[in-house]
Symmetry: C2
Subunit: 277 residues, 2 copies
Amino acid sequence: MQHPDPRRLSINTATVRKQWTLDKIIDGCARHGICGISPWRDQVQALGLEKTARLIRSNALTVSGYCRGGMFPGVDDATRQVASDDNRRAVDEALALGAACLVLVVGGLPGSSKDIAGARQQVKDGLSRLLDYSRNVGMPLAIEPLHPMYAADRACVNTLEQANDLCDELGDKGLGIAVDLYHTWWDPKLFPQLERAGRNRILAFHICDWLVPTRDLLSDRGMMGDGVIDIRSARLAVESLGYQGAHEVEIFSELNWWQQEPNDVLSTCKERHQQYC
Amino acid sequence: MQHPDPRRLSINTATVRKQWTLDKIIDGCARHGICGISPWRDQVQALGLEKTARLIRSNALTVSGYCRGGMFPGVDDATRQVASDDNRRAVDEALALGAACLVLVVGGLPGSSKDIAGARQQVKDGLSRLLDYSRNVGMPLAIEPLHPMYAADRACVNTLEQANDLCDELGDKGLGIAVDLYHTWWDPKLFPQLERAGRNRILAFHICDWLVPTRDLLSDRGMMGDGVIDIRSARLAVESLGYQGAHEVEIFSELNWWQQEPNDVLSTCKERHQQYC
């Protein structure tokens, strides 16, 4: 058994967002000896960007990613322009926080559209425009393929193969992939596409577990070890490719973990990280 | 607009299973001038195989598929043998009903396994054994790729590409694919993999719609036109490849259609078939 380096553990702040505000989460990570954090924009806005950056620095936390940019497709040019402007601000915030990457949830079908190929083209176009900016300021963008059950309303990039194709088409500079096992564990091409991505493209590695049964499409993710994902095999695979970033725990769990005492949640993350990752 | 041939409409009996027993569904299809039906095994068992076959024949219905065989992975040889025996009986029943194919939901992870690659190998092995039987008696087997959200507990074949690969590996004779748009609409490779499958492999074509939001993983499918799937494009694609089989409506809908008067459900299927398929 090859246990993971405990210093690679990072907490995506969604994991305890119902119990704690961002300042408490930063403090909690520090108290529990967790070295990484990945905050969400709404929480950063609530706490203030400069204060967040200062607290993260003073607690010596690594920012494994910033959640999130994306949502490229829109019903018209004006809508897409709003998203574009907002994405540039997200890049700036990610820079201010010293994030390893800006995570992109690319968006689904705009309006009442049934044209998923068209939405995918809009993603490519929007991403290309954002790269003009992000490459210039030096913030890597990480395309996060989302589970196909979110194709309509959250992200129409649903496989690592698609994300790799986008990297091929748009160029690797400042562009890569956020690999979240919740979204990709089922994919028969998971391992070959991780290999295709390789060290340079894998910018983030998110973990949690797939519960059986899953009672809700959005917020019934499991703690590592409580579901069916072979997390360790995937972690060993990305590290054998040279990935040296964080193992970021991101658990949306209305029914369970969001109801727990947050210090217990963080302790459990640490234990399960060692046991199952 | 190229409207579909109304004679291609078929009702998967799951669509009204909460309201009607199988004899009533057969009668309902006949009364509504619907030419095809696809019954489930439990309903056939309840009504009796011979009586079902007689009623279907006397109402001149086409059996677009028989639901279902599969569930190949098991925790041990004994479990897999039980599934194997049961699958042979399903083949025999499909023959007795004159079904176009036996639809296979291949099964997910056995027991508490996290080895999805192993489960997929078990599917291939079990399918290979069943083909020894089904090819001999002349009943085509249709692999149905299920949506990735069912990978753990229902089917670890989740894309058309996987199903095509299985057909390549096991040989095309008596083997093909049931294309269900609910499971495959999101797939960036949907159209190329339909083309790869071609006329000979496409043995069934199932329709319904993906609702936004989807409130339940199992039983919140939509009526054609109520969701985001471009059903017509896919129907035109399979027919341009030479598919001449049914357009089978399969809607699991605890919250809506299973609560409706079943004659209204069948009327709506007919209307929406013309409008959206």
